[in-house]
Symmetry: C2
Subunit: 677 residues, 2 copies
């Protein structure tokens, strides 16, 4: 991982005598199919000095954007050379693994996927090869200055002009300007434009168009197109989020993406395929976000664990020689970091499971079969909402666990945090997606009450809601230590908690007037968010169990033991954090609180023993971690010191600030008259 | 607040017919003594164009530091002109209200307060006038590269040289370099240096020295002194955090600050006063942080509330005309924002209470009476730990409540967040202070068990631990709606929860071996953090009640009503968030969950009605809010659009990124050979 000879003594000790094979753990984390592919990418990126991200520790935002374009160029180069785009799985992986955000990633995901989903055959034949070979660079323009989640209110319009066989594009007001479009300010040449289709005065609603915004030869913005950078953000500075103003821009009729509908030469509008397919793009993007949540979190947790092994603070009271102890030995640190380590792995695996669910849906949808639509919509809404929030909060926990240095950009974790934060918001924020997921969960209750059990329901993610035994609510479960160590008990407990939340909410909803009452829905919204969290955690815990069962079947006991301990610390931490819900559901008894905390502390202490080895197993390169604190060699203080050499303020002893301002604080008499600033 | 004529229609409506007097509420929030002073500052700062902070939306970090020095100069100018330093209360207030971080604030707080606390009379006479008139600019240098919280392990040393009557200062290793010292890189001329005092080979431990680091005339760093900027952080860019390396730097003996001890000409070390007084600086800084937590949070909540009143999204299902509704009408938004609005006010008031406690302690301590030391140490540790965490999390909630735009620097809230985050860590992070607070709470149990009730205990903040009725633990309180509406019930519930946590932990601690066992202490650390949160929330809820009682006595019913509703939403939100602890303590029954959630939703809905008016009452100027979204006039989209004009990427249509990199992605053939980057 590093070429130097130095390895910090504590890390060396942590790495002695691993009780499991590191590569076997990596295979278990990433899956047998993915591991070799990922490993190939990891090795390709690790030694590439064009992918060294340390400039992000010190450069200004504009330079960071420009250097992100350098990385984009390198990535395009690698993609061409190694045919990276041939494998769609690799595309998702490289998006995380390159470690920096840039317009090219939006081209590879949002733009190309929308083309794939929305073009008819002829259009696909024209546009896809151009996009795959980077001969056009695209992005996806939907959000407007005052219109985000409520797509139906978008203002941008495409009016069909029969005379010229063109659409005339306009953003008719200040608030209609496209806003936030990644890569649109200065980088992309094309975009998918979401706009209201209007024909002969009739509004057909929002449709996707393809629009060229910059000249392919000299990159100048085209007539009628005004592109602006929307300004600085607290992170994500590699991407130039753009604003787009359109004034009577004309595009040919065939630039309407026509997989679902067609507009004829005479302006006749015709639907050709089910609009349900439109969900597949939406779901695709959410699925990608879900897939990457664990990887993002793992980047920060690896830093926090390695640094907590290197960093020493306070002697333990009983220690005779008085040496300060590793921060990783603190029970408080363990309570924070070990569940997050388990969460990283559980999220990566849950991401893979979601991917499989999505692929199965997609395969059917391409044949216009939509049986799995509701299930995939529920799972992706619910997991996108919860996992991004949990990952963002987890990254912040990791940052704080690094103490004061966690605030430095050179720590890496602070940069991970501010770059990850938008994922919590975009593509449906926690509340909006919770409401969608919650509605679907309520619908299940309706189905069951009506005696309507759809086919597949009993093997779906909501099977517990169909099989839930209402009589069990009156029995309080008295929790034993054995229960807490059993994953089967844990799943029953998480199911019971999830069921009771859903059924109580359904009851309240119905008593307040049900679906026909706006105020009833308003009154249960907060409950819907709690149902979403409970459902998401249940899905993750179920994935933990299947992963352990598989390792058991494969005779991978050493790996199974280490994962079991991590997953237990995660499940117990959730049980502890949300105990009131488990108590209300009578899935646990009030007296169990202490037992839960003790069992959790034991699981964390056990998991701590191999924490550095597990962190190593992710295979994250120093390039990817981009952290002075999380380096493989643990030479953290030297790295922090070296990082100061890059800083612009260190280029001179006396700063301009003195000449311009500070001297007049110290010597006000030097300023004969205060000039107007 | 703004000079323009435009006021957003929704805000106009929210401001119609206020059911209370806005100034009366402001007086209630800030206190009768503070309000006129604050109001004076608010007016002084609001119209000052040198205190316009909008450059922080777009400038690079180095420029931001330099412009923070411009603000510092303006502040020094105002301080001289209006004698702002004469009133110590104003100093604390202006620190928050100037809205940007800068070295001068460290001069005014850490540096001057340490001088005041640590100088003997002669030293004070020399240094204080220089500092007060900004003829020297100082900071406080304690933390080292690998030494933060554990002060006793600092490596920097001051060796007494009898021959020359000087101390010889050295940072003997890489990790001994002072690190993180605010303002030390490029701004300050002096610092308080914490270093090990060594005389004739004997190590007397860490002591404060005053050290000049830069020339007063030309600002060059002095011989033997190496100053570096430690690098970029994700926020707080107005401050140049520095590193200091010392090589055989000599300072006269009298530069040891000698209030507590003296070193004679012949090297004799003598303690002159109780070292307990040293706690007063530590406590002072924590108290200042506590005092400002509510104000910081209020800055973000004002933005979030105003923007949620202006921003519209989705029509409500029952609405006939289909207009999108104000986001503030969502029950989910209300559940997030209204408790935080209550929290801002409760934190401001709790800060004032802490201040009074501190002043009483300080007055006694100056006479070498330390009866209140333990109480003040407990209260400040506990509240610093909890309130900074809660405020930081609250600010992030406000940021998320602003949707996607909350991520823009122009939103203000994103900048508030990243600038506030270090407060959670510095001056003792959550865990370290929790352990200190927790230990003191356990000590109370020991006192009571030993039948030892110290004087003042029954009026102190831990009185509930002395009077707690153990028999009550076996009775489960069945909660009624009336209970939840009563603040007296609420305080009993918070007391019971806090007591049970402490007594259960004490029991566990003792069963594991008690104070003599290191592993026993390790085992209860997590519990100590939970005890700290419970104790802190109890203190805040008690402050809410006294505030309401005072308004009652004063016949201020309209203001009382609005605060009661906000405080209720806060207390109920805490009850909801931590319900498991209340259930375990039998302070509530398992069946009460739904009732709590409903009562909370009602309180939030009621508080929503006057939310914009309450937000206005804080008196925050647009300068201070520094937010396109939180402007008084609600002209948010125009402001966002205008903000793009400042951005450096918008100065040209085709960016350098195209010439340097993007063109080679589009046209790889233009690059005949890939040059090494």
């Amino acid at each position: 991982m590093t070429d130097g000879k130095y390895i910090n003594e504590d890390l060396k000790r942590e790495r002695e005598n691993p009780p499991f094979d590191l590569e076997a753990l990596a295979v278990a984390i990433y899956g047998k199919e993915m591991y070799p592919k990922l490993n190939k990418l990891q090795r390709l990126f690790a030694k590439n000095e064009n992918l060294d991200l340390r400039h992000t520790w010190s450069c200004d935002n504009k330079t960071r954007y420009i250097l992100a374009c350098r990385i984009a160029e390198e990535l395009a180069h690698l993609a061409r050379k190694h045919n990276l785009l041939d494998d769609p799985e690799l595309v998702g992986a490289l998006q995380v693994m390159v470690g920096e955000e840039m317009f090219l990633l939006l081209h590879l995901t949002m733009f190309m996927c929308t083309l794939e989903a929305m073009c008819n055959e002829e259009q696909a034949k024209h546009w896809m090869p151009l996009a795959r070979d980077f001969r056009i660079l695209g992005t996806y323009a939907q959000t407007e200055l005052s219109h985000g989640s409520n797509v139906s209110r978008l203002e941008t319009e495409a009016v069909f002009d029969e005379e010229t066989d063109e659409f005339v594009l306009n953003t008719p007001s200040l608030t209609a300007r496209k806003w936030w479009v990644g890569g649109l300010a200065k980088s992309c040449t094309h975009c998918i434009l979401m706009a209201r289709l209007k024909i002969k005065g009739k509004d057909w609603g929002v449709h996707p168009f393809i629009l060229q915004v910059r000249d392919l030869n000299d990159h100048k913005s085209l007539p009628g197109v005004t592109l602006l950078h929307i300004g600085q953000k607290i992170g994500y500075q590699g991407v130039d989020n753009g604003s787009l103003h359109l004034k009577n821009v004309r595009i040919p009729r065939k630039n309407l993406l026509m997989r679902f509908c067609e507009v004829d030469r005479d302006g006749t509008y015709r639907t050709t395929r089910s609009r349900k397919l439109l969900y597949s793009t939406l779901t695709f993007t959410r699925k990608q976000i879900i897939r990457s949540a664990g990887a993002h979190l793992s980047r920060s947790i690896v830093v926090a664990i390695r640094y907590s092994a290197v960093r020493r603070q306070f002697a333990s009271p009983g220690d005779v020689d008085g040496a300060e102890q590793q921060v990783l030995n603190y029970s408080t640190t363990q309570r924070t970091l070990l569940p997050l380590l388990g969460m990283s792995i559980a999220f990566i695996q849950t991401g893979q499971w979601t991917d499989e669910l999505y692929q199965a849906f997609k395969a059917e949808a391409d044949r216009d079969v939509f049986d799995k639509l509701e299930e995939v919509h529920l799972v992706t809404s619910c997991l996108k909402a919860y996992m991004t929030l949990a990952a963002a909060e987890g990254i912040e926990q990791c940052r704080r666990a690094c103490g004061g240095h966690g605030y430095l950009q050179a720590s890496g974790v602070s940069l991970h945090l501010v770059s990850y934060l938008p994922q919590v918001t975009y593509e449906g924020d926690f509340v909006i997606l919770s409401l969608q997921a919650g509605r679907l969960l309520l619908k299940v209750v309706g189905n069951r009450m009506a005696g309507n059990i759809p086919s597949g329901a009993l093997t779906s993610s909501v099977r517990h809601l169909y099989t839930f035994d209402f009589d069990s609510v009156s029995e309080v479960a008295v929790v034993t230590k054995e229960d807490l160590l059993s994953f089967n008990w844990m799943i029953k407990a998480f199911e019971k908690r999830a069921c009771v939340l859903v059924y109580m909410t359904a009851q309240r909803f119905s008593s307040l007037g049900g679906p026909s009452s706006a105020s009833a829905f308003e009154a249960i919204k907060v409950d819907l968010t709690k149902m979403t969290v409970a459902h998401a955690q249940l899905l993750v815990v179920r994935n933990c169990l299947s992963s352990l069962e598989q390792l058991q079947r494969e005779g991978q006991q050493p790996v199974q033991r280490v994962l079991e301990c991590l997953f237990r610390s995660l499940a117990l931490a959730w049980l502890d954090d949300h105990l009131a819900e488990f108590l209300t559901a009578k899935a646990a008894d009030v007296e169990s609180h202490t037992l839960i905390k003790e069992t959790l502390a034991d699981a964390c202490a056990e998991a701590r023993k191999t924490a550095v080895l597990v962190a190593d197993s992710f295979g994250h390169s120093d390039n990817f971690l981009n952290s002075a604190l999380g380096r493989y060699d643990g030479d953290v203080y030297r790295a922090l010191f070296d990082s100061t050499k890059l800083d612009s303020l260190n280029q001179q002893d006396v700063s301009e600030s003195y000449k311009l301002y500070i001297q007049y604080i110290l010597h006000p008499e030097r300023k004969t008259a205060r000039p107007k600033l």
